[in-house]
Amino acid sequence: MGTKDDEYDYLFKVVLIGDSGVGKSNLLSRFTRNEFNLESKSTIGVEFATRSIQVNNKTIKAQIWDTAGQERYRAITSAYYRGAVGALLVYDIAKHLTYENVERWLRELRDHADQNIVIMLVGNKSDLRHLRAVPTDEAKNFSERNNLSFIETSALDSTNVEAAFHNILTEIYKIVSQKQIRDSPDDDNSPSSNVQTITVAPTVNSAQAKKPCCS
């Protein structure tokens, strides 16, 4: 049984995607453990981390999936996206190619993820101002055209990391909580149509006193 700390109202699966080297793993470690590693190695397979935050007095537990950018076509692909309600699509503001590949990642999401998945475009490494290759406005416009949220972050100096996760989780929460209100809880597994009628013979009142089973 979990302790009080483990309790949560909502559990959301969020995936991190984007080219390798854009800083996905460091975004994750900054958010979940407040750690940053300048010499981090390429991720092997899939990594997971969780962290709970408060939104509207509800505890939301984020289960974040991180994968190596170059392993897109491994066996795990479909499972990676399965059940995900949010995606942080990360590029490196200092590497234009990683931004150009955003379209490919969007296509991948369309192919594998739920169509209602909340997507946030994240321009990481905003601390590298002098090396900027992707203007903020350009990315912002792109996001608007494609109905994505947008934010620039720096896992290195922590800028906006908290905000990025907080925003996407709040957005998901809004959608989910609205959906819950709309779908009234009438869809529980009540037997209704599925039941076979069992003919029960009329009860003959027996002389035997009904003994309680408990002694």
């Binding site: 397979g45 491994r74 009904k210």
Partner: protein
């Protein structure tokens, strides 16, 4: 409430504070229902039981109609709904399973009473059964027999693999090796329950008809023994690839299933291929038996010392053309063997005729002593899972395990060796002789049979052991579990197989390393294994802190496992490291 009544059982709970209650038990849930009176309660129970058996009858009826789509001929029973939807979702899969199962020799009739069209199976014994016999199997409990419906249940791909490796003919050659009807009369399709039950009890519980392993001191001159290695690939697949496969190894196993289609000339090829594959200089004689007759090729000492030993070999050998225990070629073997008596003899367990080999010895011993583990590793580091169907290059003698002294022949070591040879027939034989599935081999790092089976990369061998009560929590001398070993060897299929059965991801070896630690430090770490281990760990952690929304992580884990299992079973090449 429940989708399928057939999966439910009704019982009266005894330890309840309430009265007039009955319980509907399904595989996943238990519903306690309370009636107004005792009579009501009884009526409910009766009615429910009646509809359960009605639901079964409907199903039997439906499945008899075979190819026809199961249409809505239901009688309005609750169960028919679930049945129809599942049948429509994957009709071809079930049909394919049935076809695959029924072509295995002997499987077209119930293993125990011979009734036609068996629709049930015991997945740990590897046999098909009629519904009557399956009921008796069930009554003995799952530790003896794990019964599944061929048409209704969902099957793990590994279970099917086990079934394809065994089959009624193979199993009966072991469990009905020396039938003694004074112990129990043979069950027939029409026999009553009492006869059926005592036959099945004698056969599997008392194991009364199993031939004991040949002992050392019974005047026979058997000196050494070994277990024949099974080659990669399920028989069915090998059959299809018949013409493509060139290696002697694949032809070799083909012969075991190819059965009637095997022509004498085929067996000629087979023999020569085998000889070429043999270790150079080995003074081994191969007693080759084709459908045409007997032919002895090769050189060196041939033969079998006495008829007892010969008939034992006969009993073990799988004859391709034999039907109900009428082992033509096996008989020939026996005669031939007795005619060429020699001083010392080896036996090879699980030898497949027409290649029943009663091999020469002495010199062969030192050649094979190095054979112990290296070929296993070489062969298996190439890829994961089994059944890749690719030709296995044969260098040296890879056809059987190292020779062991007859004095060491006990069921436990036999099971261990057979696990390393992925030879399910011999494994079953050893278990039939009451081998301990968790026996610890102190001479090999304290490993258990499943750790040995992991080395072969065979999903079927591991599954067979797991189905027969092998435990995953056992550790060898270095503190490693089977999961550690699968990780070290990079066998993704096994890792997934063990995780599905809740192997402990956090188990630490003597160096304090979990399988994940090992996976990460391996050079070119296998990303899939790392992912599976991490996901299993996450799932476990999530389970400890389950929230209102249930556990989505668990579903994902199941899904991922299913994906990997299917891949490991059907397209193992996809799991190969690049």
């Amino acid at each position: 409430m429940e989708e399928d009544l057939r999966l439910c059982t009704i019982r009266l709970p005894s330890d309840l504070d309430r009265r007039f209650c009955f319980e509907v038990l399904s595989p996943t849930r238990s519903h306690i229902l309370q009636a107004d009176s005792e009579e009501d309660c009884q009526t409910w129970v009766k009615a429910l039981n009646a509809s359960i058996s009605q639901a079964y009858k409907d199903t039997m009826h439906e499945s008899d109609k075979e190819s026809e789509e199961k249409s809505s001929t239901s009688s309005g029973a609750e169960s028919s709904q679930g049945d129809n939807s599942s049948a429509q979702a994957k009709p071809s899969k079930e049909k394919l399973r049935m076809e695959q199962l029924l072509v295995v020799p002997g499987n077209s009739n119930c293993c125990d009473c011979g009734a036609a069209e068996p629709r049930w199976a015991s997945i740990n014994l590897g046999v098909t059964l009629c519904i009557e016999c399956s009921g008796i199997h069930r009554s003995f409990g799952v530790h003896m027999s794990k019964v599944r419906s061929i048409t209704l249940d969902t099957w793990e791909p590994e279970n099917l693999k086990v079934m394809l490796e065994l089959g009624n003919e193979v199993v009966n050659r072991i469990y009905e090796a020396k039938v003694d009807e004074s112990i129990a009369a043979r069950a027939t399709p029409e026999c009553n329950r009492v006869v059926r039950e005592s036959w099945i009890r004698a056969k599997y519980v008392q194991k009364a008809f199993i031939k004991q392993l040949p002992g050392v001191n019974k005047g026979n001159k058997l000196r050494q023994w070994s277990v024949r290695k099974k080659t990669r690939g399920s028989p069915a697949r090998l059959l299809k690839k018949h013409s493509l496969e060139e290696t002697s190894a694949s032809k070799d196993s083909l012969s075991s299933r190819g059965g009637d289609s095997l022509s004498p000339s085929d067996s000629d090829d087979l023999t020569s291929g085998l000889l070429e594959g043999g270790a150079p200089g080995a003074r081994r004689a191969v007693l080759s038996v084709s459908n045409m007759g007997t032919r002895i090729s090769g050189s060196g000492s041939v033969g079998s010392s006495n008829s007892g030993a010969a008939s034992y070999v006969e009993g073990l050998s799988r004859s391709s053309s034999s039907g109900h225990g009428t082992s033509d070629s096996g008989n020939v073997t026996a005669t031939a063997a007795t005619s060429t008596v020699d001083i010392s003899t080896n036996i090879v367990f699980g030898e497949e005729s027409p290649l029943a080999r009663v091999a020469g010895l002495n010199k062969s011993l030192d050649l094979e002593s190095s054979d112990e583990s290296s070929p296993d590793f070489d062969e298996d580091s190439v890829g994961d899972g089994d059944g890749s169907g690719r030709g296995v290059a044969m260098d040296g003698d890879q056809f059987h395990t190292s020779w062991e002294d007859m004095s060491k022949l006990d069921p436990n070591l036999l099971l261990y060796k057979a696990s390393g040879a992925r030879n399910l027939g011999v494994m079953l034989e050893a278990l039939g002789n009451r081998a301990d599935p968790n026996w610890v081999n102190l001479e090999e790092e304290g490993r258990t049979p499943i750790m040995k089976a992991v080395q072969t990369g065979s999903l079927a061998a591991c599954e067979f052991l797991l189905l027969n009560n092998a435990k995953l929590d056992r550790r060898d001398k270095s503190g490693r579990t089977a999961l550690h070993h699968a990780t070290i060897l990079g066998h993704t299929g096994q890792v997934c197989q063990f995780l599905k059965r809740r192997a402990d991801v956090n188990a630490k070896d003597n160096q304090g390393k979990t399988p994940l630690d090992i996976a990460l430090e391996t050079e070119n770490a296998n990303a899939d294994i790392v992912t599976l281990l991490r996901l299993a760990k996450l799932t476990e952690e999530m389970k400890e802190s389950e929230g209102y929304m249930g556990n989505p992580g668990d579903d994902t884990f199941q899904d991922v496992c299913r994906d990997f299992t299917n891949m490991a079973s059907n397209n193992p090449e996809k799991l190969k490291r690049k």
